[in-house]
Symmetry: C2
Subunit: 240 residues, 2 copies
């Protein structure tokens, strides 16, 4: 899909949905792309890529990108606010956490993809909520008072959390259904031809078995070590 302009024309009757997605140096671009695509192709929706400034950001894996909207330019009220995996620095970044806490406390729906749920947790937004993350770090959720729940998508009230990558499509489509109805969400799923066919059936530790899981954990240990260390050092926000 593509266009010379900015997508389907806005009808005058509908209020534009405001959708915010956090981007930051070292963020995992794949985690954001499901929400970005679902709402970016939805008529009457405005997607903001949010960061402190609009300088160049290197995503992980390497993809040089820019925010479209700074924290200070950001809308006050989001219909959807989404956070994917970011480096562990974000878990200690008071400016970002304060921003997320403020916007998140008023947002219609909060989406945490992959270890983005830990960031929502660090911003105090998951206390008492059931939530998921990736299998490498989901044991850290209780540090923030969240209740780890091993599912691809976990919905608790207006908090939607998921595993990485396609978890963002799954959350995005479900949130779109709430905001714009089932037909709009079905058309979005159709337009993306979202009939993913994972070739190996090894998309979870339960499916892949302990040997492959051990190797995957090892291969990505350098990605997750910092997060584990940082969360352990954070003052606990566990609800008593």
């Amino acid at each position: 899909m593509f266009a010379e302009s900015h997508g389907p024309q806005m009808s005058q009757q509908t209020k534009k949905l405001q959708v915010g997605i956090l981007v930051c140096p070292g963020f995992a671009i794949v985690d954001t792309i499901g929400i970005h695509s679902v709402f970016g192709f939805t008529p009457d929706a405005e997607v903001h890529l949010l960061w402190k400034d609009k300088g160049m950001i290197e995503a992980i894996p390497r993809f040089p990108v820019h925010a479209t909207t700074t924290f200070s330019e950001s809308p006050r009220d989001f219909d959807v606010l989404c956070v994917g995996a970011c480096p562990d620095e974000i878990l200690r970044d008071e400016e970002t956490l304060a921003f997320l806490k403020d916007r998140g406390s008023r947002a219609g729906y909060l989406v945490g993809v992959c270890s983005g749920s830990l960031i929502l947790g660090a911003a105090g937004l998951l206390e008492g909520y059931r939530a998921t993350s990736n299998f490498h770090v989901m044991d850290l959720l209780p540090h923030f008072g969240a209740i780890p729940t091993r599912q691809n998508v976990v919905i608790d009230r207006n908090r939607y959390t998921s595993g990485p990558a396609t978890g963002g499509f799954d959350c995005g489509l479900r949130v779109l259904e709430k905001l714009r109805g089932e037909e709009a969400a079905k058309i979005s799923e159709l337009s993306m031809e979202y009939i993913a066919q994972p070739p190996f059936g090894t998309g979870s530790p339960e499916l892949a078995g302990p040997e492959l899981t051990r190797k995957a954990l090892q291969l990505f240990a350098h990605f997750t070590e910092g997060t584990r260390r940082t969360v352990r050092e954070l003052p606990s926000r566990r609800a008593s």
Copy 2:
């Protein structure tokens, strides 16, 4: 997933895989992200985001990005070369088509996601190959001598084509299996927790039915009109 550096360290024994992904003004970022993620997180692989220059590019939906590698800096031999949906201008852009034809004729594997397959076709790389695209434009494939085949992923020799979005994950994992073996591909699928759960089961015209399909075609007509017009105006490359 994330890291402060550029992913798993390179072993000295293995030749780095060279992976190229075309980016251009108005490209559909979602189509590229599967390949980008599969190979970006693969040890000993180098992913090049290819365009004429490194200035800012607006993806569709809006996402300001940059190429990492210009055509003139590009490796000569790619293990994988991938093209997703781009605006119809690309179908007439002789510089880009010449670049793709040259690199594509030598690449180990060619991947066309969504209407990226039409661009491979315009570069003369699909003559006599079975291929797919998105349902809006796949009837245009014969213009380039390709044989339209209605499947999520179509593999014909070293040409891998797919529908949009998650089609890139499906192709990427299958190509990774060829290049690095089944275990590496299984671990990649696991690391992305690629167990997509489309909530509505409407990810194809066959699943969604004629009424929703008509609405989706209508909603995206302004995206596809230009492509239809441009392809009709191109000199036919149909074999014989």
